[in-house]
Every structure is written in C-alpha cells, then in structure tokens.
Amino acid sequence: MPSKRVATDTGLLAVRLVLLAVALAAIAYGVLSGELQVVLAKGVRVCLECIGIA
C-alpha cells in the first residue's frame, strides 16, 4: 500500500516537525524568562531532599 505508507510518513514527519518546533520554542522562551538561573541555583547547591536530609 504505497499511498497509505506515504500518507503515514508525511503525517509522522509533520508530527516530528511540530514537536521539534515546540521544543525549541519552549527552550528559547525558558532561557529568555530566566529559568536557567533557577536550574543553576538549584544545581550548584547540595539538594537536601535528594540526599534525604530535608
């Protein structure tokens, strides 16, 4: 069924492109809104929850 296969491949390609675009847009928005600092601030300190103290 070549026509069905082509349609499926096109659909899959569209899904991938949309997901990639959404991912890149989200990363850009997150970086611009200062989320990097939040992640960095947590990452450079000992996470007391992770080690079971807090």
Partner: protein, 301 residues
C-alpha cells in the same frame, strides 16, 4: 538462541556497557568533588542532561532534568518549566528511550547488578504489565502534581520524587557526599534511611529482575516512552526476513516481544533484539539510516 547469535548479543552488551560507563564518567567527571564532598559549582549546571543523574552527585557536571522540573514547578512563581520541558521533548523526539538503553547511569547500575550470578526471574505477565503503569503515576503525582499542590509555609513545593523515591539520588548523591563530608552524615534521619531502603530494594530486585526501576518507577522513562513511535531514532522488524523464532524476545531486557512492540513505549532501544536476530530482520537507527538499510536489503533480494 544459536551460539553465534548468543556471542553477538554478548559482544553488543559489552559495547553498550562501555558506552554507558563512558557517559556515566563524563556526566560525573568532577572527580575533586568526591574527595572534598562538595558539589560542582560551574555554570554547566544550568544545562540539564537527558538522563537521570542526580545534580547532588559530587561529580555531576550538569543538572538532572527531573529534579530541575520539580524545582521550577514547586517554585514560588508556580510556573511550568518551559526550558526543562522543551529539553525533554527535544531529547524525546530525537532519541526516545535510546537514552534509557545507552546513556542512563542508573540503567548501567541495574545492568551490572543483573550480571551477578544469582537466580533470575520475571514477575508474572499480568502483574508485570499492571506494574508498568506505576511509572506514569510516579511522573504525574510525585514529579508534577504534589510539588505544585502541596506547599510549605515558605510557599515552595518539595521535589517529591527526589525526596521520597529517587534511588539514583541516594546512590549518586547522598552516599558519596556523606562519605566525604561527615557533617552531612551527622544530620541523617528517618527520611535518609527510607531512601536507603528504597535503593537497597531496587538494587536487590535488579539482581534478579532485569531493569526493575526502568520498567516500573522511572518518570523519565515514562516520558520518553511516549515519543518512541515518533522519534527520529527508530527500530523496525522486517516481516519478510523474520523467522518468528522469538530469539529477540529472549534477549530483551524489558521482557517485550520485539515483533509486536519494537517501538512501543516500553522499548529502551538497547539493540539486544537486533544482535540476537539470526536473520538480521531488525534494523535500527535514525530514520534515514533505517530506510537506507531496508532499501539496500530490498535491492539485494
């Protein structure tokens, strides 16, 4: 399984272990931290790596995406973490659960434990399949819902997954930190021992059952699994070459039947099925490569 293919699986497993070990060493490459008992304070920690690797591991050079996601969700602003979610979707679309099979250090720990020569078993099929839903509950409840809903007087929510469940945090973060930093060791209480109990249980289970944490509890695996069918990295079973011998099913660490579930949400893309296949009916790779391999085989036939 025929001898030659068993050897191929062994060779493939060794190569995979080597890649996993290399990734674990690189993502925890701040060796000095293990001596001083202090976490790495570099700006690289603003980047989230795609696998479960505790940012409180003294050697960690980047941040854990699950911990970072909970931190932003539980922050005072109650915001969705666009940055972390974006990264997770990006990794998911490109790799799917290839991350679990080849890159995750906690996957490596489980694979190594399973090599200990003690009796192996799998849970009954129905119990196993039912328990696989647990990881979605862990992701929804402990990673997303509870950090948002349950908040302390300070207005922040705790990272519930890290706090109550994550065995990677105990193994990579708590134990090395406490070994190198006695001041931290003096502060342990019930929560710490609970986390140690979870770690011991998962590790003991991993000796007998293949990849129990990945199958039943890992929120990151649950998330990446959603992308397996659409990710750029794909696996395919070529029906015309498949002899239905089920050698692939015998080699699968996730207990799947690759004939039916090769790109399903549970497949960690470890490639054992591909190595075990006596007729080379399973192809894997990024989409283009997989298609090229199929086309080459078709033209050769």
């Amino acid at each position: 399984m025929f001898g030659v293919h068993r050897n191929r699986v062994k060779r493939h497993s060794r190569r995979r272990l080597l890649i996993q070990a290399l990734v674990a060493c690189v993502s925890n490459g701040y060796v000095q931290g293990f001596v001083t008992g202090k976490v790495f304070g570099s700006p690289t920690k603003a980047f989230c790596i795609p696998w479960l690797n505790c940012y409180s591991c003294p050697g960690a050079v980047a941040s854990c995406p699950v911990g970072s996601l909970q931190t932003v969700l539980g922050g005072r602003s109650r915001g969705v973490s666009f940055y972390v979610m974006g990264l997770l979707v990006l990794f998911g679309v490109v790799l799917g659960r290839l991350v679990c099979g080849f890159l995750c250090p906690f996957g490596l720990v489980q694979d190594l434990l399973h090599r200990i020569p003690l009796p192996k078993f799998e849970l009954p099929h129905k119990v196993d399949r039912a328990m696989r839903w647990l990881k979605y509950a862990v992701a929804g409840l402990l990673v997303v819902a509870l950090p948002v809903v349950l908040r302390a007087a300070t207005g922040t929510g705790a990272p519930f997954f890290c706090k109550f469940l994550c065995p990677a945090g105990t193994l990579e973060g708590a134990l090395p930190l406490m070994a190198a930093n006695p001041r931290l060791g003096a502060q342990v209480g019930g929560l710490f021992w609970w986390k140690v109990a979870v770690l011991v249980l998962v590790m003991l289970l991993a000796i007998c059952v293949r990849r129990p944490f990945c199958k039943y509890l890992c929120p990151l695996g649950a998330f990446y699994g959603l992308f397996n069918r659409v990710s750029l990295y794909q696996m395919r079973v070529e029906r015309s070459s498949c002899a239905s011998c089920h050698s692939c099913a015998g080699a699968c660490p996730m207990g799947l039947d690759p004939e039916r579930e090769v790109n399903g949400p549970e497949c960690i893309r470890c490639g054992n099925c591909k190595a075990a296949c006596p007729t080379s009916a399973i192809v894997a790779g990024f989409e283009l490569r997989a298609r090229e391999a199929l086309a080459k085989r078709d033209s050769a036939a």
